[in-house]
Symmetry: C2
Subunit: 348 residues, 2 copies
C-alpha cells in the first residue's frame, strides 16, 4: 500500500474521547506504516436524534469504497424504545459482513503471586443469533406477545468455526472451547456445535488441526468456570449473544472493560472497536480509559498486515500498564485520558 485510509466512527459518549487516542497511537508509528489518512464518519445515537438515522448510507459507502479499515468508538443505547432507532454497530457488522468479533482478554503482567493469569480470546459470531433483529409483537388472549427469531446457519457457524480453529492453531496452547446451550436449544445450538466441531473434517483440511484440542461447554457453566478457573480457557468460540456476555465477563477478570480491545473482521474488511460502551456516566470528563481503543487500533493494523506497528503499540500499552503510574480512574489511577495517550505515544 502507498497510503492507508482509516474510517473513524467515534459515535457516542466516550467513543469520542478514546478514538483520538487511537489516532495518536497510529500517528506515532510515523513512517513505519504508509502515509495515513483518517476519514471522519458519522454514526450513533446522538446523530440519530438529530437526523432520524443512526447509520447514514454515506458512512457505509465511504467505508466500502474508500477505506482500508476502520475504528469504531462506542454507541449509546436509548433507555427506552425509540421508534426507528436501530443500533448502528449491529448494522455495520452486518452490512460490512464483519462476521467475526475477536476479543482477546489478557492479564497485563504475570500475576506476582504466581497464580495463572488470564490469556484467552473470545471469538464471537457477529452477524446472526438474536442479532438478526427479527421481532414481532401481537396481542393474544392474555395481552401482548413478543417474539424474536434466533437464527443460526451452517454457513456462519462454519466460517466462525474455521477462524476459531485457525486462531487456536496459532496460539501456544492450541485449545478451543465451543460454547453453546444445546441442552435446551438442540436445533440451533446443536447446529452451531456440530458445524464448529466438524471443521477439522472439512474437505481440504487434511489433518491441519490435529494439534488443536477441542472442548465444549454450556454457556451458563462457561461463565461460572470463567470466574472460577479462567486459566482453563484459550480460544472460546460462541454464537453472538453468548459471545457478547462472555467477553464482558472475561473483561471483568482483567480489571476493567477499558482494557479490552476487539476487531470486527470479515474476509475483506476489519474494524477495530473497544469492547466497552459509551459510558454516559463518565463521558465528557476526559477520564475514559483510551487503552482498549488504542489496542483495538493495534489489532486492526495487525489484521491488515502491519504486525510490527501493532507490536510497537501493544508493547507501549503494556509498559504503561506495568509501570502503573499513569492510569485512568477505572484502574485506580488519577490520570486523564489525554495523559494516558501521551504516555503511550511517547513509548511507541
Amino acid at each position: 500500500r502507498q497510503s492507508l485510509k482509516i474510517g473513524m466512527l467515534p459515535a457516542d459518549g466516550i467513543g469520542r474521547e478514546v478514538l483520538p487516542g487511537a489516532k495518536a497511537a497510529i500517528l506515532a508509528l510515523g513512517s513505519s506504516i504508509p502515509k495515513t489518512e483518517f476519514i471522519d464518519l458519522l454514526a450513533g445515537f446522538e446523530y440519530f436524534t438529530k437526523t432520524g438515522t443512526a447509520l447514514p448510507d454515506e458512512t457505509v459507502e465511504v467505508l466500502k469504497s474508500e477505506c482500508d479499515c476502520a475504528l469504531f468508538g462506542a454507541v449509546s443505547s436509548p433507555s427506552r424504545k425509540v421508534a426507528g432507532y436501530s443500533s448502528p454497530i449491529v448494522a455495520l457488522r452486518k452490512k460490512m459482513d464483519l462476521y467475526a468479533n475477536i476479543r482477546p482478554v489478557k492479564s497485563v503482567s504475570v500475576n506476582p503471586e504466581g497464580a495463572p493469569g488470564v490469556d484467552l480470546v473470545v471469538i464471537r459470531e457477529n452477524t446472526e443469533c438474536l442479532y438478526v433483529k427479527q421481532e414481532t409483537q401481537t396481542v393474544g388472549e392474555h395481552g401482548k406477545e413478543a417474539r424474536a427469531t434466533r437464527l443460526i446457519t451452517e454457513r456462519a457457524s462454519r466460517r466462525i468455526g474455521e477462524l476459531a480453529f485457525k486462531m487456536a492453531l496459532e496460539r501456544s496452547r492450541k485449545h478451543l472451547t465451543v460454547i453453546h446451550k444445546s441442552n435446551v436449544l438442540s436445533i440451533t445450538d446443536g447446529l452451531f456445535r456440530e458445524t464448529v466441531r466438524a471443521v477439522p473434517t472439512l474437505p481440504g483440511v487434511n489433518g491441519k488441526y490435529d494439534d488443536v484440542t477441542v472442548a465444549e461447554q454450556l454457556v451458563d457453566s462457561a461463565v461460572y468456570r470463567l470466574f472460577r478457573e479462567p486459566e482453563i480457557y484459550d480460544v472460546m468460540v460462541a454464537p453472538n449473544l453468548y459471545g457478547d456476555i462472555l467477553s464482558d465477563a472475561a473483561a471483568a477478570l482483567v480489571g476493567s472493560l477499558g482494557l479490552v480491545p476487539s476487531v470486527n473482521a470479515g474476509d475483506s474488511f476489519v474494524m477495530g472497536e473497544p469492547v466497552h460502551g459509551s459510558a454516559p456516566d463518565i463521558a465528557g470528563q476526559n477520564i475514559a480509559n483510551p487503552l482498549a481503543a488504542i489496542r483495538s487500533a493495534a489489532m486492526m493494523l495487525r489484521h491488515i498486515g502491519y504486525g510490527d506497528g501493532a507490536d510497537r503499540i501493544e508493547r507501549a500499552v503494556d509498559s504503561v500498564l506495568r509501570e502503573g503510574r499513569v492510569l485512568t480512574p477505572d484502574l485506580g489511577g488519577k490520570s486523564k485520558t489525554s495523559e494516558v495517550v501521551d504516555e503511550v505515544t511517547k513509548r511507541i
Copy 2:
C-alpha cells in the same frame, strides 16, 4: 396440614446423591412439621435412555394430584442431539406452571476483611424466552438454517415482575435491577422491561412499592458488574436465559455452585432444585456437595408455610459452613457427601 407429601425426583448423576441429604434434613425436623411422606418419582436422561421418555406422564400426575411440593435433583444433558429427548426440568417447569425460579446467592459469613459480601436473589422467569423450544431447521442456498423462537409475553413478564417487586419489598435494601438487552431486542426485551417497570402502576397496587428503588442493566454489563461490584445487587429479575447465566455467574462469587439453592415456584406448587447440574465427572463418588439441595429443601418448606423448619435447616447449614471443618472438595474440604449431611442433621 395433617401430613406432607413431598415428590422426590433425583433424576441423574449427583442429583441422586444430594437428594437423600435433603430428605435427611427434612426428617431431622421431627415433629415440628407434619408427618412427611416422600414419594419417589421418575425422570431424567438415564430414565430416557431406558424407556424413551425423560418425564413420564405419571410423574406429572402424581405431582399434581398427590404432592404438596417436590424436590428435583439434577439432569444430565446428552452431549449430542438425541432424537426424542427433551430436558425434563424444562418440561416440568412448564407443565406445573412453575413460572418463577428464585435463586438466592449469599456469602456465608461477612467477609473478614470487611469487604461487602454478596447477598442477592436472581428471579428468573421460568416458562418462556428461548426455553419455549420452538425450533425449526430448513436447508437454504448456503446449507442448513436453524431458527428458534424467543417468546416474551406481557402476562409472564407481569407475574414475574410482581414477584420481583414483592421480594424486593421484603428485603432490607429494597432494590430491584431489571435485566434485559433491549438495545438489541427492542421488542421482546422492550416488552419485558416495560412490563416489569410498570408493576407499581398496576391497578390496586396503590403505592405499595414506593419504597422499592428500581434500576436496570443490559445483561452483558450486568455480568461484568456482578464480578466487579456484586454488592450493588439486591434483587435481580431477568428473562429465562439471562437468569440462567446470571445465577451461575453469581454462584461463582460465593465459592461453589454446590451452595446455591433455588425453588421453582408457581401459584399453587413449589419445587426445590439445587442450581448445580448432574456433574457426571464426580457422580458416584459420594463427594458431591449436598448443601445446595438441603438449602433448596429449606426454601421449599418456607414457601409452603414452614418458615421455622426452614430457619432451622438454614442455620444448621450456615453453622457447618462457618465452622469449615466438614466440607466437600468443591469447598476445599475432604469430607464425603454423607459426612456433610450428618454434620448438618446433627445441628438441626
